[in-house]
C-alpha cells in the first residue's frame, strides 16, 4: 500500500485538481466563482429568453406555445446530467475518500430535483395546448418522473442518516445503483409505451429549428447551466462550513470572525 503513495508528487507540486480537493482550498475558490456564475446566468438567460420570446419566429405547428421550450429543455438537460454528475462524484468519493466530492454530491441533489420538477411542470404546461393533456404516459415523461423519484429518494436517505460519514457513503452507493439502473429504466419504459400504443406524439418529429430558435435555446441552456453551477457551489459552501465548523481555517474566515 505504501508504494502507491510514492507516486503522488510532492506536496508543493500537487496538481491543481488535487489542491482544490481540499475543502479549505475550494471554499474561497467557490466563493469567487458563485457571483461570476450568477452574473453569467442573468446575462445568458436574459439573452436566451429575450431571443426566444421576442425575436424567434412563431412555430408553424404549435404557435407560440412552443416557446416554453426555452425553459423546458434546459431543465431536462440539467436534470439528467446532474444525476450522472452526482453518481460520478459519489464514485470519486468512494475511491479516493475525498470529503469534498461527497459534499459536492450532496449539493447537486436539490438542484437536480428542482430541474426535474421544473421539466415536468413546464412539460405539463406545454402539453396542455399542444397535445390537449396535462400529462401523457410518454416514455420520456415517465422516465423524468422516475428520475425525480430517484432524486427524492436520495435526498430522503441523506436526511434520514445523522452520521455524515455514513450518509455520504450510503448516498454514493444509492446514486451509483440508480445510475446503473437509469438506462434499464429508460429502455423498459420505452418498451412499455411502444407496446401499448405506437407513440402518437414524438418530440423528434418537430420540424428542424430556425436559427433564431436554436440561438435562443443555446443561450438559455448555457444560462441555466450557469445558474445550476452557481446554486450548487453556493450550497456546497454552506455544506463545507457546516461540516468543517470545527476546523481552524473556518474559524479564521472573515465572514466567521466578523
Amino acid at each position: 500500500m505504501t508504494s502507491t503513495l510514492t507516486h503522488f508528487p510532492a506536496r508543493g507540486a500537487a496538481p491543481l485538481a488535487w489542491k482544490y480537493a481540499a475543502p479549505a482550498a475550494f471554499y474561497p475558490l467557490a466563493g469567487k466563482l458563485v457571483p461570476m456564475l450568477f452574473a453569467a446566468a442573468v446575462v445568458l438567460l436574459a439573452l436566451g429568453l429575450g431571443i426566444g420570446f421576442l425575436v424567434a419566429p412563431t412555430d408553424a405547428q404549435q404557435g407560440d406555445a412552443y416557446r416554453i421550450i426555452y425553459v423546458h429543455v434546459p431543465a431536462a438537460w440539467i436534470a439528467m446530467v446532474v444525476y450522472l454528475a452526482m453518481a460520478f462524484w459519489g464514485a470519486v468519493g468512494f475511491v479516493f475518500g475525498t470529503r469534498l466530492s461527497f459534499m459536492l454530491m450532496r449539493a447537486l441533489a436539490p438542484t437536480g430535483a428542482l430541474a426535474a420538477f421544473l421539466c415536468l411542470w413546464t412539460g405539463a404546461l406545454w402539453g396542455r395546448p399542444t397535445w390537449g393533456a396535462w400529462w401523457v404516459w410518454d416514455a420520456r415523461l415517465t422516465s423524468v418522473l422516475i428520475l425525480l423519484f430517484l432524486y427524492l429518494g436520495f435526498m430522503a436517505l441523506q436526511s434520514a442518516i445523522d452520521d455524515p460519514r455514513r450518509a455520504d457513503r450510503a448516498g454514493a452507493l444509492l446514486a451509483l445503483v440508480g445510475a446503473v439502473n437509469v438506462p434499464v429504466i429508460y429502455f423498459s419504459v420505452q418498451w412499455w409505451n411502444t407496446l401499448h400504443q405506437g407513440s402518437s406524439i414524438r418530440f423528434g418529429a418537430a420540424p428542424t429549428m430556425a436559427p433564431d430558435m436554436l440561438a435562443g435555446l443555446l443561450f438559455s441552456a448555457l444560462g441555466a447551466w450557469a445558474w445550476a453551477g452557481a446554486s450548487v457551489l453556493r450550497r456546497l459552501r454552506a455544506i463545507v462550513l457546516e461540516r468543517e465548523a470545527d476546523a481552524a481555517w473556518v474559524a479564521q474566515l472573515p465572514e466567521v470572525t466578523a
Binding site: 427524492l152 436517505l157 457513503r169
Partner: protein
C-alpha cells in the same frame, strides 16, 4: 463457501418458520390488496382481465416492500449481523444466501398464490401460466434490489417507508416486463420477449446486487 451459503439459508428459513406470522402477514397483504381492486373499480370481467397483471404485480411489489425491513433488521438488533460481517466467509456469499432465504419466504409464496388470484380476475389459463412464470423470474429481482435498500436503511428512523422510496423507482423495469408479459400473452403477441428480458434483468441483478448490498451493510455498520 457453499457450506456457509446453505447454513445461512437454513438458519433464516428456520427463523422464519419459528415466526410464521410475519411471513403470513405479508402474504395476506398481497391477497387483500389484490382483492380490494375489484371493489374499487367495479366487477366488470373484461376490465378486470385487462387490469389483472398490473394489479397483481403491483400488489406483489408492495408486499415485498413490507418484508424488506425484516431482512437485516432483526439480525442487526440482536447483534448477529455484526458477527456475520466479522466471520471469515465472504460477506457477498452471506448476503446472497440471506436474499435467497428472503425470496423463499416472501417471494415464492406469492408465486404459488398468484394462480388463485388470477382466477379471481378471470384470467385465461395460458395468461395465468405466463403470470406465474413472470413472477417466478421477477420476484427474485424484487428481493435482490430490495436487499440493497434494506441494507442502506438499516437502523434508520422511518426505515420502513424510506426503503420503499429508495427501492420502488428501481423496480420499475421488473414491473414493466412482468406485467407486460401477461399483457402480451393476452393480446396474442406472445410473452417470450418480455420473459427473456425479465430473465436478463434477473441475471444483471443477481450478479451486481449482492455486492452492492454487502457494501451497504459495511457502510451501515461501519
Amino acid at each position: 463457501m457453499l457450506n456457509a451459503f446453505l447454513c445461512v439459508i437454513r438458519r433464516d428459513l428456520l427463523l422464519a418458520f419459528r415466526r410464521q406470522s410475519d411471513a403470513f402477514a405479508a402474504l395476506l397483504f398481497f391477497v387483500i390488496a389484490a382483492a380490494l381492486f375489484p371493489l374499487g373499480v367495479g366487477p366488470e370481467p373484461a376490465q378486470l382481465r385487462a387490469m389483472a397483471p398490473g394489479v397483481l404485480w403491483v400488489a406483489a411489489l408492495f408486499s415485498s416492500m413490507l418484508s424488506l425491513n425484516r431482512l437485516f433488521a432483526s439480525d442487526h438488533a440482536d447483534g448477529t449481523l455484526e458477527q456475520l460481517l466479522l466471520c471469515a466467509e465472504p460477506l457477498v456469499v452471506i448476503v446472497a444466501a440471506k436474499t435467497v432465504a428472503h425470496w423463499l419466504v416472501a417471494g415464492l409464496p406469492i408465486v404459488l398464490l398468484a394462480p388463485v388470484l388470477g382466477l379471481l380476475f378471470d384470467l385465461a389459463p395460458d395468461a395465468i401460466g405466463v403470470l406465474v412464470a413472470s413472477l417466478l423470474i421477477g420476484t427474485p429481482v424484487l428481493s435482490l434490489l430490495g436487499a440493497i435498500g434494506g441494507a442502506l436503511t438499516l437502523g434508520l428512523r422511518g426505515g420502513g417507508v424510506l426503503v420503499s422510496l429508495l427501492v420502488l423507482p428501481l423496480q420499475v423495469p421488473v414491473l414493466v416486463f412482468g406485467a407486460g408479459a401477461v399483457g402480451a400473452q393476452t393480446s396474442g403477441l406472445g410473452a417470450s420477449a418480455h420473459l427473456l428480458l425479465l430473465g436478463g434483468v434477473l441475471m444483471f441483478a443477481a450478479v451486481l446486487a449482492p455486492w452492492a448490498t454487502a457494501a451497504a451493510l459495511r457502510i451501515a455498520l461501519d
